[in-house]
């Protein structure tokens, strides 16, 4: 199994900046970046009223189910999905096979504009992920995991 997925402050800042730019350029309501296993990575826009944790888990489930369908149909992957609502629409894309980019938008934007902006942003994000992977593998950053002692773990579970 590969090592755990990580995100460092520098790259987190870069990813958040890309999300903010996408939110602005696509005229979106909100932008979320989610790990394929359902953990929220970054967000931008109107997210105060959103249950980001639930949305992340359900989106990852949705993407996993779609991936299952593509396998049955012998299709490589369905890289994007679109859910059309009455007021809000959802555009979902896979970024570099590692993360899921979700754009929520309404009548102030259009699917065409969102698609166009998502394409550029996901390329930038994929590059940032590559940088994170390189950094994580080079072990230039000390891992919190090596600092954790047995006592720390025991203390966490003391009633």
């Amino acid at each position: 199994m590969a090592g755990p997925d990580v995100m460092f402050p520098e790259e987190q800042q870069q990813i958040t900046t890309v999300c903010q730019r996408l939110h602005r350029d696509a005229n979106a309501k909100a932008v979320l970046l989610i790990g394929r296993d359902g953990q929220a990575i970054a967000e931008a826009g109107d997210v105060e009223d959103l249950d980001v944790t639930s949305l992340s888990s359900l989106t990852a489930g949705n993407v996993a189910a779609t991936g299952g369908i593509s396998k049955i149909l012998r299709e490589k992957d369905f890289t994007s999905q679109f859910h059309e609502g009455e007021k809000v629409h959802v555009h979902i894309t896979l970024v570099g096979g590692r993360a899921i980019l979700v754009v929520l938008f309404d009548e102030r934007s259009s699917l065409g504009l969102v698609r166009l902006r998502v394409k550029k942003s996901s390329e930038e994000m994929a590059r940032i992920f590559d940088a994170v992977s390189t950094k994580a593998q080079s072990k230039s950053q000390p891992s919190i995991l090596t600092e954790i002692t047995d006592k720390d773990i025991d203390n966490l579970f003391n009633d």
Partner: protein, 197 residues
């Protein structure tokens, strides 16, 4: 797969409750949800059929406190237990960090338990995991019912490798948190061990 965010200082891990249909996986999560303080939990999601059977998964995000200034967040998932939902079950296993196998202790469910455990091994192997190498605990549920098999028999059949195991009655909560703590602890130890290599 665990996700460590050095920016928000969080360690995120994924736990999956597996087991035959109606063994009490969802009941475990309901009990944990009911007994956890509001600030430690997120919303519980159940993707269920009209008859309350799990269709895709249940999901419960839980914070278990801090280690060295990092919040430990566990995402608890259940799989649908019914045999024909196998394709969905496989998807939930992706990225798993720790497993709980929930046994239905009733004598008449032995075959279903064995079948589900075999199915777990096969589905994990398909995702590139080996159950014997994953943080893994077993819960013998429904111990409050009259027609249950003796623990030793269950152990021999369903826990031959003798991973940590717990007697439970998920409806009343007996053993539920012991199980959760044991698997969460095992996951953190595995992360610690992996990083030390």
């Amino acid at each position: 797969m665990s996700f460590i965010n050095y920016s928000s200082r969080e360690i995120n891990c994924k736990l999956v409750y597996y087991g035959p249909g109606l063994c009490g996986k969802t009941t475990n999560l309901h009990y944990i949800y009911a007994k956890t303080s509001p600030e430690a939990k997120g919303k519980m999601i159940s993707l269920a059929t009209e008859t309350e059977r799990t269709l895709f998964f249940d999901f419960l995000p839980l914070s278990l406190g801090e280690i060295r200034g990092f919040k430990t967040r566990f995402h608890l998932y259940t799989v649908p237990g019914q045999v024909f939902y196998d394709a969905s079950r496989k998807l939930i296993l992706k990225g798993v960090d720790g497993m709980v196998f929930v046994v239905d202790s009733q004598i008449e469910r032995m075959e279903a338990n064995i079948e589900s455990l075999d199915n777990l091994r096969i589905n994990l192997a398909e995702q590139g995991y080996d159950l014997d190498k994953l943080p893994y605990v077993v819960q013998y549920n429904k111990r409050d019912l009259p027609n249950v098999a003796p623990i030793e028999q269950l152990r021999d059949l369903l826990n031959p490798t003798r991973v940590p195991d717990f007697e439970a009655s998920a409806t009343t909560g007996v053993g539920v948190f012991d199980t959760l703590k044991a698997v969460a602890k095992a996951v953190l130890r595995e992360l610690q061990r992996g990083a030390g290599q």
